[in-house]
């Protein structure tokens, strides 16, 4: 008898833990984040790669850029855009991505918070649009 109570308690704890997403969210899903394009980006109209590819692969692009700069001293990225025109980019996180996406908090971080990604890049790299005097 005594054991039955313990077993039922254990089972209840198990079910409670494993169903936590159902009750912690309280049945309410927050709106899907819509990254806001900065005015500069809006003026430029296109990203380095087509939008769909950027959304999925921008970290791999950045990885390629990083390796190219740090290992091979290659800083220029040349790519043909949708109209077949060659474009040149300086392979730089702060000076290219964030020069166009000047609103990191409204753009990069919107998605990243939702997807729970915390790029460690900002340990070293700066957001040039933030003019706070640190140090």
């Amino acid at each position: 008898m005594n054991d039955k109570i313990k077993i039922i308690a254990g089972l209840a704890i198990f079910v409670l833990i494993f169903t936590c997403p159902f009750w912690i969210n309280g049945g309410k899903a927050k709106d899907v984040p819509k990254p806001v394009l900065s005015e500069k980006a809006l003026a430029a109209k296109t990203c380095v790669l087509p939008k769909d590819e950027m959304a999925k692969n921008h970290m791999q692009l950045l990885d390629g850029w990083r390796n190219s700069v740090v290992r091979n001293e290659q800083r220029v990225y040349i790519i043909k855009d949708a109209n077949g025109i060659e474009k040149e980019y300086d392979m730089s996180l702060s000076n290219t991505c964030l020069a166009c996406h000047t609103n990191k908090a409204e753009f990069c971080d919107k998605c990243h918070e939702y997807a729970s990604v915390n790029p460690y890049c900002w340990d070293c790299h700066v957001d040039p649009n933030v003019k706070e005097a640190s140090l």
Partner: protein
């Protein structure tokens, strides 16, 4: 290759293929992305509870712990309290270390015929692989909370940070995923390469291995190679857990393979050896104190019979006993 391996592999591949085709057909996406996962979760919990209640009903009248050390004895003989517990506190310790560190598996030995005699040797690799497998699986499972909670709690982020400690590549490599995949591969290789283990391996052993391999494989493939739209996927998973299911555009069919294999695992779980997750808590050979010499354990369903002395017995049957020529203590 044995038929058991081939059949299990074919089963997992066919399941994956079904989901891949289903996930590519827009009309079927809600079946594979919503209804099958919901049904699988329901079967998992109901099946789990059913198995636990079935075990809870099984009578365990006597103390049957497997003891692996000196039992409680005279005061000057040292008791091995964890391996031969005599109190509830020690049993809790024993269970804790069994569940958290797999102590009984640590004692795993292998037997070999060397020359003309058999030799037993301590074999640590199964224990190590089992630890690696279970803990990396736990870490992977826990990290998946990022798809099911909004906002994502801090503890999930801590685990992500620790898991990506080596900061390899982008998206950053999570060690747990790689360890999980490697550990399952080892557990499979072990089954195939040790002849004795291969001989006793059944479909019920290979199928869950391939299933987990498929789940981990599709996950790794989506994260590091295929690259899928994480925001769309989180929209789908959040819809599931807030009971407002929806299928966003841009969801890769590989996700449906991942989800369908997980649903299969959830349905298969309560009715297979995987139930050791709940069963370990209810193993009478682990969760009982060895106190038979201190406490009298009476079988609770013994019939309530009147106690009869030999004297009364002889009084009742004396004449018949004398007739049959049996010795009696008193002649009349």
């Amino acid at each position: 290759m044995s038929l058991n391996i081939i059949m299990s592999l074919v089963a997992v591949v066919v399941l994956g293929a079904i989901a891949f085709v289903g996930g590519s057909v827009p009309g079927l996406q809600s079946v594979f992305g919503i209804w099958i996962p919901y049904a699988a979760v329901a079967v998992f919990f109901l099946g789990f509870a059913y198995r636990i209640f079935k075990w809870a009903k099984s009578p365990v009248p006597f103390r049957i712990p497997t003891t692996c050390g000196q039992q409680k004895s005279l005061s000057w003989i040292k008791q091995n309290k964890i391996d031969n517990p005599s109190s509830t506190k020690a049993v809790i310790l024993r269970m804790f270390f069994e569940i958290v560190t797999f102590r009984s598996l640590f004692r795993n030995t292998k037997s070999e015929i060397k020359g003309d005699r058999i030799s037993y040797e301590w074999e640590i690799w199964l224990w190590l692989a089992a630890l690696a497998f279970h803990y990396s699986f736990l870490a992977v499972l826990f990290r998946h909370l990022r798809f099911f909670l909004e906002p994502v709690p801090y503890c999930v982020k801590i685990v992500e940070t620790l898991d990506s400690f080596f900061q390899v590549g982008l998206p950053v490599v999570f060690a747990s995923g790689i360890v999980l995949f490697a550990a399952v591969l080892y557990l499979f290789a072990r089954r195939v390469m040790i002849p004795q283990v291969k001989y006793i391996s059944l479909i019920a052993d290979y199928f869950p291995l391939f299933l987990i391999l498929g789940i981990a494989g599709t996950g790794l493939y989506m994260r590091y190679f295929l690259r899928v739209d994480i925001v769309a996927i989180k929209t789908l998973t959040m819809g599931l857990v807030t009971l407002k299911p929806l299928i966003p555009a841009n969801v890769s069919s590989m996700l449906f393979v991942h989800l369908f294999l997980i649903s299969t695992l959830l349905v298969y779980f309560p009715f297979s050896k995987l139930m050791h997750m709940g069963g370990v808590f209810l193993s009478p050979t682990r969760n009982m104190a060895n106190n038979s010499r201190m406490k009298r354990h009476i079988n609770p369903w013994n019939p309530d019979l009147e106690f009869v002395t030999y004297e009364k017995y002889e009084n009742d049957f004396r004449e018949k006993m004398i007739e049959a020529g049996l010795p009696v203590e008193k002649e009349s």
